[in-house]
Assembly symmetry: C2
Homo-oligomer: 282 residues x 2
């Protein structure tokens, strides 16, 4: 399975935790991790390569020259990395047909097969929308000119690469940014929704993009069905959305202990060697 | 390493979860699990044997005839199993020198080597005492005639079997029970403290018997040192003490997600085969 990640140096450890959880809960599957970046050092890339290889998987780093986006609009403090998710098809190998983009602030706690292999039915992407009334209301207001039906979260994106190569145009993206630069809050997510929202296949957020801030919301909304037992048995992606991250000192939340345990497993001195190698051998 | 467990049919699944966490976080170590019981069926024993073997470890069941304790005092609703921890040395193989007793309502989240291999310095047991002032006060009052210094929790007990064979006498235990049957609340734990409290080596409860009900207490008492990061890196035994258990529907607590994830790993259809076998191979 092909996995796409994009990050800067600050997120290397969370990325390792996410990848370790992915490998561990998908034992017996082979992964090829593609990293799009602009600022990682050779040492950092070598470390990631060693890590992923020790876990029994493949790694490719794709460095994007800053010149490539020299003519693109700059929005607030956002770096050019905001474009990577939308333009990944331009930089990935031409024979790649499908890739799953994952944010680094994620734990994968069950097999990803059903998501990865789903029929995209002619959509550019598959993604979950965060349909809480409040969130939706705010975003609908902010981007109402674009007739969004739902607000898709861009942290987990299954990509239909051949179709993207046909349909997604840089000029369209840059043009939209120029016109809306003052209205955008999360530029990549806003872009995805505004330009391609109607071409995204919806997948269940509880399974594929569970927002860890809303444990009680999900439980109450589902009349108790989505409790801890259900989550652990069914949810694939736990997404630690928001500013407070589980690797921060002051974090609290229902999935804190789980995240920190995975952090130890992933970053411990020998953990990835022993489990990774044996997972790959199964 | 030798591990002792005692249980009835209601705790078979929690036992599997505890064992799976033990095996997984002690990859590369060999375990021999001794189960003392009086009521498990042949089918239940065969299932446990298969489970532990599939994980790459050994299993021995020791059935204790109810006739053995026919003359022993009966306290309230407690079964004869309350004697097992104190008299295990009578039933285990005579050449066994050391064994670690573990309750089934436990997760092992780090290597147990340092605990298992510690110098017992002539003590009968090593155990943690739960030294919260409130708990200690209540128990000191209740058993004050016995001059306890601390109240040891009997859920994690490292046993010095040769010394126990020398010093622990059934008559002494039965005699104590006869005289105190109306004052005992947790008979096996009370017995351990009253009769052998001074012959128990103290070990750090934060490391070896962390009471999951008291996350905030530990954190505040330690001026913030024992936070989630510290626990995940250092604590070996998470003990889900009390009546509310993490496998109950209504449970809440800081380690709920971690427990339920381990439950899935331990009880999932293929989990113990794939990980267990590979863990054993390392």
């Amino acid at each position: 399975m092909n996995i796409l990640v994009t990050l800067n140096s600050n997120y290397i450890n969370p990325l390792k935790v996410m990848l370790w959880s992915l490998f561990f809960n998908n034992r017996g599957r082979d992964f090829h991790i593609y990293l799009m970046h602009s600022s990682l050092t050779g040492q950092e890339l070598a470390d990631l390569d060693q890590y992923i290889n020790a876990c029994g998987h493949q790694f490719s780093a794709i460095r994007i020259s800053s010149e490539y986006f020299a003519g693109a609009p700059v929005v607030k403090h956002y770096s050019q990395e905001m474009y990577y998710r939308l333009l990944a098809h331009r930089f990935l190998p031409v024979d790649l047909e499908r890739i799953l983009y994952l944010d680094p602030d994620i734990l994968i706690i069950n097999p990803v097969d059903a998501l990865y292999e789903m029929d995209l039915e002619g959509h550019l992407y598959a993604a979950s929308y965060h349909k809480r009334a409040l969130v939706k209301g705010i975003n609908m207001l902010r981007l109402k000119a674009y007739e969004m039906e739902e607000y898709f979260n861009s942290g987990v994106l299954l990509m239909n690469l051949p179709l993207q190569r046909e349909r997604i145009r840089e000029e369209e993206i840059f043009d939209y940014l120029e016109k809306n630069r003052n209205r955008l809050i999360l530029p990549d997510q806003d872009l995805l929704n505004a330009l391609y929202g109607k071409e995204i296949k919806k997948v269940d957020e509880v399974l594929y993009n569970y927002d860890t801030r809303f444990y009680h919301y999900y439980r109450i909304q589902s009349s108790g069905k989505v409790n801890m037992d259900y989550i652990m048995k069914n949810t694939v992606v736990l997404h630690f959305c928001g500013k407070k991250k589980p690797w921060h000192e002051q974090y609290t939340g229902e999935f804190h202990s789980l995240y920190k345990h995975y952090e130890c497993l992933a970053l411990g001195k020998t953990a990835h060697d022993s489990i990774g190698a044996s997972a790959a051998a199964n």
